[in-house]
Symmetry: C2
Subunit: 338 residues, 2 copies
């Protein structure tokens, strides 16, 4: 594109017939400017091809006014909705707080990711990062704290409570507890759990969801010990695992699942095992359209709320860099089939 | 955060023991710098807390070195994978070309979206936008051309070929044609189509996918006219529509679907109608884990390729603003169940 003579704040103001401060307000605090005036200033900005406001503001404030978040390389399409909703929530809450949201492509490993984040932050492209998919073995938080990078994790510091940082997470145990109580209310008495292979070992999303089931089932003092199965997060594998569960003498009459992907497999196994009898009731996790399509209850994560809280923690951190680390757990709800 | 004395390109260079040009290269063309040197410079950048490089470069080049793309407000969780893959592809291809990818939250309507894009571009936050979810009634392309905003659409200018702009799209007709030929090869002779309510009216993704089925079925000169049904993109509605189709005297023995969401409903109707006989074969669209879980063939869009081509068109446009508009159609492939 040809580069015309650069417009200035003053030439835009003259063009729009407003003060220089009004132009500045439109760029920095558009919510403080009446819609009509804002529209006139934006038109003047366009017509004068005024451009450098954001970079100039970045230089003046020494802030990028942007945060970075990872675009996942591959993903479970059934629960993909969760991350999409998280992106939208971040973008929306970010816009409300004058923060852009930058996507970076998931690097090959955690070391490469930390290096990329450092580059984004220390070259002024972003002020902070929202870490997703945290785990007990996650090395990113320690590295980011070491390099002085501002971040908020979507996910708890599983097993690393001695290395505090800001985080937001969904209380999975509350979710599976809701699922169990829903099933008890409907008369189920043998409520099994279908989790992931790693559940029950290191602290993780999986152990948390399993714990909610175990505690709720224990509190109900049902007959017989709790029954459970484990499966990779694939519907076909889940179907095999649940078929085995349903072939046992103490077969469950309901199954709480760690994900809707598992629930899809469990539902298919339940239908196949039932023949003419009433199939076991399956409850999923993530309240995706798949669960809705199958007529299954499913635990819904308040993803939009979690995204907004991540932005709240980051903006609070920008204002008070030395305040203690905060962790926020938000409670899910149970979506019933319509 | 406390603001230390600002580091300069020279102080970073001295700290790293390299030339000022090498530091500049790390920031502008990291691919031209050996990994070891790059690492040393990034460490020096971090240790000296050098920050303003990106904003300074933006001011110097009068470019944001960023593109914007919309974060969808809500979405079909079954095909959500497609947009996630698109985001990842944009972020990856963008990084390869020195372009950041900014997310903006989907505004209330197209007018608000165009205003937001204008603001992003004309305040220097982004150089261009990738438009998603284009349609025949879409007013965004005309508005963006009018305001001189650089953009590339992921999706054809349905019915607006007289208003040319850069776009990339997936050839849906090729995809459904592949599905029909796969079914013919497997001996099917009554291959129906399950599309969306709007298919067959205005040019759209739906009419394109339907056309591929119709042409391939017509070319096979089968007995009897082609049979089809329409449904909202919801599995439950699809199940009802396909149940009616399968109750007809000329019931199909195979169904090509416009989406995996429709395929999920079609598959359930086929299983319910079949009882002891062989159920109708269902082919989906988008090759999601749902189709894989159900053992269905499904058309896979080359989303990563499409994202990379969008970035290619935009970088080409930055270099040659007056070159003619380009449209690129990429061909999908058929994923068979394993």
């Amino acid at each position: 594109m040809a580069v015309p003579d650069p417009a200035t704040l003053d030439s835009v103001a003259a063009h729009a017939g407003v003060s220089r401060q009004t132009v500045s307000n439109v760029l920095r605090h558009p919510d403080r400017v009446a819609a009509g005036t804002r529209e006139r200033v934006l038109t003047a900005i366009r017509e004068t091809r005024y451009r450098p406001s954001l970079p100039a503001r970045q230089l003046a404030t020494r802030r990028a006014h942007a945060i970075a978040v990872r675009a996942e390389r591959t993903q479970d399409g059934i629960s993909g909705l969760v991350l999409d909703a998280f992106y939208h929530g971040l973008a929306e809450a970010g816009q409300d707080n004058g923060l852009r949201v930058l996507l970076y492509a998931q690097p090959a490993d955690e070391a490469a990711e930390v290096a990329l984040i450092d580059e984004l932050v220390h070259t002024g492209a972003a002020d902070a990062v929202v870490l997703t998919a945290t785990s007990a073995a996650d090395e990113r938080p320690a590295h980011l704290r070491e390099s002085g990078t501002t971040f908020c994790a979507f996910g708890r510091p599983w097993g690393h409570d001695d290395e505090p940082h800001d985080w937001v997470d969904v209380d999975g145990a509350v979710g599976t507890g809701l699922a169990v109580r829903h099933l008890l209310d409907r008369g189920h008495r043998r409520i099994a759990y279908l989790g992931w292979p790693e559940d029950g070992a290191d602290p993780s999303t999986g152990t948390d969801r399993r714990r909610g089931w175990l505690e709720a089932v224990g509190a109900a003092s049902l007959d017989g010990p709790p029954v459970e199965a484990r499966s990779l997060n694939q519907a076909a594998a889940a179907e095999v695992a649940v078929a085995a569960l349903l072939a046992r003498a103490d077969a469950p009459d309901a199954i709480v699942c760690a994900s809707d992907t598992l629930a899809l497999g469990a539902h298919r196994a339940a239908l196949a095992a039932a023949r003419s009898a009433r199939p076991a009731t399956v409850v999923g996790f993530d309240a995706t359209p798949v669960a809705a399509a199958l007529g299954l209850a499913s635990v819904a994560q308040p993803i939009d709320q979690a995204a907004h809280l991540c932005i709240d923690l980051l903006t609070g951190r920008f204002e008070a860099p030395d305040r203690p680390a905060q962790g926020l757990l938000v409670a899910p709800v149970l979506h019933l089939p319509s």
